[in-house]
């Protein structure tokens, strides 16, 4: 089973990149580009825009590599967060996301499964998913649409036919609930 050499550890590569090791950074890029592209593509929908965002994200990752703290989560999760923020900035500059194209009854939790994630799902993700399941289905869906697809409060208001202020309240309550659940 273990005949293939172990994949380089992103945390180690990121640490070396923080010390100025460009070769390690290139290896980190090769190992993580599809993941980060997936993160950006979900938000931006267009492949060219997602490529631009990924490029921007890696430049930021290189610059901020020294800020990464392994105690606070995985290297890939940290890199994905940076990518997400770049993609969100880009999408806000172009146009608000419309959720009209999404099919009714869309269930983000079921839709979004990385084939690897089933086997390699981290404890943190398992715990978070468990806590998400404690939310009302509609509220869970809103949180995931916002996180995975960059849906804004206004887009969610249109989709769920609720005032934006109500969406805001729901999102905040959901996030508080998630944190409380994660802390217990």
């Amino acid at each position: 089973m273990n005949a293939t050499p172990p994949a380089p550890d992103p945390t180690d590569l990121l640490r070396r990149a923080a010390g100025g090791d460009q070769g390690a950074f290139r290896a980190l890029h090769a190992a993580t580009q599809p993941k980060l592209f997936g993160v950006a593509l979900r938000i931006l929908a267009r492949r060219d825009a997602a490529s631009d965002a990924v490029q921007e994200a890696y430049v930021k990752i290189w610059r901020r590599a020294a800020d990464f703290d392994p105690a606070k989560g995985s290297a890939v999760a940290w890199m994905a967060t940076i990518t997400r923020n770049v993609a969100l900035d880009a999408v806000r500059k172009t146009q608000p996301i419309s959720l009209e194209d999404m099919p009714d009854g869309f269930e983000p939790a079921a839709e979004a499964v990385d084939p690897l994630a089933g086997r390699e799902r981290s404890e943190r993700l398992s715990a978070l998913m468990k806590c998400l399941e404690e939310l009302e289905p509609r509220k869970r869906e809103m949180v995931l649409l916002a996180y995975w697809h960059g849906a804004s409060r206004d887009a969610l208001a249109a989709k769920y036919s609720a005032p934006a202020a109500t969406i805001k309240t729901w999102l905040r309550r959901s996030l508080l609930g998630l944190r409380e659940c994660m802390e217990t």
């Binding site: 100025g20 090791d21 460009q22 070769g23 890029h29 580009q33 599809p34 993941k35 592209f37 997936g38 593509l41 979900r42 492949r47 060219d48 490529s51 990924v54 490029q55 890696y58 430049v59 290189w62 610059r63 901020r64 800020d67 606070k72 989560g73 890939v76 999760a77 994905a80 967060t81 969100l88 806000r92 608000p96 979004a112 990385d114 084939p115 690897l116 994630a117 390699e120 799902r121 981290s122 993700l125 715990a127 978070l128 995931l144 916002a146 996180y147 995975w148 960059g150 849906a151 804004s152 409060r153 206004d154 969406i167 805001k168 999102l171 905040r172 996030l175 508080l176 944190r179 994660m182």
Partner: protein, 244 residues
């Protein structure tokens, strides 16, 4: 320093990413000003980040590496430069701080366009009128190797520049310029010494121009250009307040 519950919820929503553009920009500006708010956003981001594990990888149409490689520092040859000795703590501190600043190639017209790898570092929210020390780190891009540290005292209009990781090519010298539309063409602030601190007088220039200007370095013949830059800048930056 603790945040009010309401502020913590603002941070939560910012981390989730559901804010409309104007509120997102306000939250980013606030995070840049208030470390406690930035920390709260980071905590919420950390809480949600595992969700990215569930996102399926997708192979991009084009490899993004070449474009990225063009924008990051070349590997440092031989480790930390000798010039950084004795300033190690500050060097690292500046590097780390740089990593939080937004690097952007800003529109300085033809000047910026001619900068092959030049990146101007600036902070998004610079409180104007906050007299006192300003500092700029002149670099080629990337946090790993700041090349010059420039500090400006707006009260005395005195500029100090110190090379941190920069050595001029053989038979050449670095010359410092102040560039601002109000001043017309770039104005020379003199040749930068190879080591130690070089001081320059900014009294001929208005305070607003001094605070807003871009400070740039060109490579010139020993003794300097004689008044007009002979090529594009190799380093450039704007001032930011020195907050510690």
């Amino acid at each position: 320093m603790t945040l009010l519950p309401e502020d913590d919820l603002d941070a939560a929503e910012a981390a989730l990413g559901a804010l409309p553009a104007d509120e997102a920009a306000a939250a980013a500006a606030r995070a840049a000003r208030e470390p406690a708010f930035a920390a709260a956003v980071a905590r919420w981001e950390g809480l949600l980040a595992p969700l990215n594990e569930a996102t399926a990888p997708v192979t991009p149409d084009r490899d993004t590496w070449p474009a990225i490689a063009a924008r990051i520092d070349p590997p440092a040859a031989g480790g930390r430069p000798a010039g950084a000795q004795g300033q190690g703590a500050q060097f690292i501190d500046l590097s780390r701080r740089l990593s939080r600043w937004r690097g952007a190639a800003v529109g300085l017209g033809a000047l910026a366009a001619s900068m092959a790898v030049g990146v101007v570092v600036r902070e998004k929210t610079r409180p104007v009128g906050d007299a006192g020390e300003y500092v700029a780190v002149l670099q080629t891009g990337g946090a790993a190797s700041p090349a010059f540290v420039v500090s400006v005292d707006l009260t005395t209009r005195r500029l100090l520049i110190r090379p941190v990781a920069a050595k001029a090519p053989e038979g050449k010298a670095y010359e410092l310029w102040i560039i601002d539309p109000r001043l017309g063409p770039p104005k020379s602030l003199g040749v930068v010494g190879a080591s130690g601190v070089t001081s320059s007088d900014l009294k001929p220039y208005g305070e607003a121009a001094v605070a807003d200007a871009t400070y740039a370095i060109t490579v010139e013949k020993p003794g300097g250009s004689g008044g007009t830059p002979s090529g594009p800048p190799v380093f450039a930056a704007k001032l930011i307040p020195f907050d510690k």
